[in-house]
């Protein structure tokens, strides 16, 4: 399976993602320059973390208009797999490929720490290697990760089972303290209705080797290789 990591000006987890998919997962991986109109025949597009366009205007708001995003949208519309991590999640929200928007973290602080998240839906291409209720320890690093949506959107997202991860305490309980950025319903990761586009604030690519302190991110990466049954 071939992976493509999109590079925007200001991306800073592109090399991490490239390393994770190529070396930790052992799959052919290539960079995709945001100005090109070429997805180079990849099977899965990764929108990495960082500060595309300096987070000017709003996080992900300018990257959304990058030339390559046209191809990414068509790819997603055809059912292609797209994973947005952190800033990549913000870009997917701005693109309207995922519902809702990001607000500043509830305590107005940039958060750079490990969190524990609970896997809520194990039937998506991004989580099928894991099991529902499984707790993963994965780092976050963001200022705008406070996911918000109008009530009717939130209800739809919940009813459709689109929530893939929630912030939880180490035992898996949903507490206000564990919901570090204040996201509605402690949502840390989402898929679209069709299930082929996923956005998550935690960085699975930073948790793929023992030397990094956690390998829990591999659940997400390896899920992408699982054959659809």
């Amino acid at each position: 399976m071939k992976f493509g990591v999109v590079v925007f000006p200001g991306s800073n987890c592109d090399a991490d993602a490239y390393h994770a998919f190529r070396d930790a997962l052992g799959q052919p991986t290539t960079y995709l320059w945001h100005k090109d109109h070429d997805l180079k025949g990849v099977d899965c597009v990764i929108l990495p973390g960082g500060f595309s366009y300096g987070d000017y205007l709003r996080s992900g708001a300018i990257a959304r208009f990058s030339p390559l995003m046209q191809e990414v949208r068509e790819f997603a519309d055809k059912g292609g797999l797209v994973l947005g991590i952190c800033n990549g999640f913000q870009v997917l929200l701005e693109l309207n490929l995922l519902p809702g928007a990001m607000l500043r973290n509830k305590k107005l602080k940039f958060l750079c720490q490990y969190v524990t998240i609970r896997l809520e839906n194990d039937r998506t291409p991004f989580t099928r290697k894991g099991t529902k209720g499984q707790i993963l320890r994965i780092p976050i690093a963001h200022f705008d990760g406070n996911w918000y949506a109008p009530l009717e959107t939130l209800k739809e997202v919940e009813d459709n089972g689109q929530v893939v991860f929630r912030y939880c305490d180490p035992e898996g309980a949903l507490t206000e303290e564990a919901n570090v950025n204040g996201s509605l319903h402690a949502i840390a990761g989402l898929v679209n209705k069709r299930g082929n586009v996923c956005g998550m604030m935690p960085h699975p690519e930073r948790a793929v080797e023992p030397v990094l302190g956690s390998e829990d991110g591999l659940v997400v990466l390896q899920s992408l290789l699982e054959k659809i049954s």
Binding site: L57, E94, A101, L103, R104, P150
Partner: protein, 81 residues
């Protein structure tokens, strides 16, 4: 022709930055301040189009780019001809 666009959070969306400013004002004794909503101001310098075209273009730009309509709203005005 200049246009000014004001983008702010919808009333239904919590504005923690505005609240922090309000709290700071209270600390300074400005107790009359009940609430603070923070927003962004954009000034566009437009040329080569009529006022009617500008009146069509400005809300289009504001709704598509300057504001995220999931969480924000905007108002606009043309400042000079």
């Amino acid at each position: 022709m200049k246009a000014r666009i004001l983008v702010s959070f919808k009333d239904s969306v919590l504005d923690p930055q505005g609240q922090t400013v309000r709290n700071a004002l209270h600390t300074l004794g400005y107790d009359a301040v009940q609430d603070v909503r923070q927003g962004k101001v954009f000034e566009l310098d437009l040329s080569g189009i009529s006022k009617a075209e500008a009146e069509r273009l400005i809300p289009e730009i504001a709704g598509k780019v300057l504001a995220n309509m999931v969480i924000e709203k905007y108002t606009w005005q043309i400042l000079e001809d």
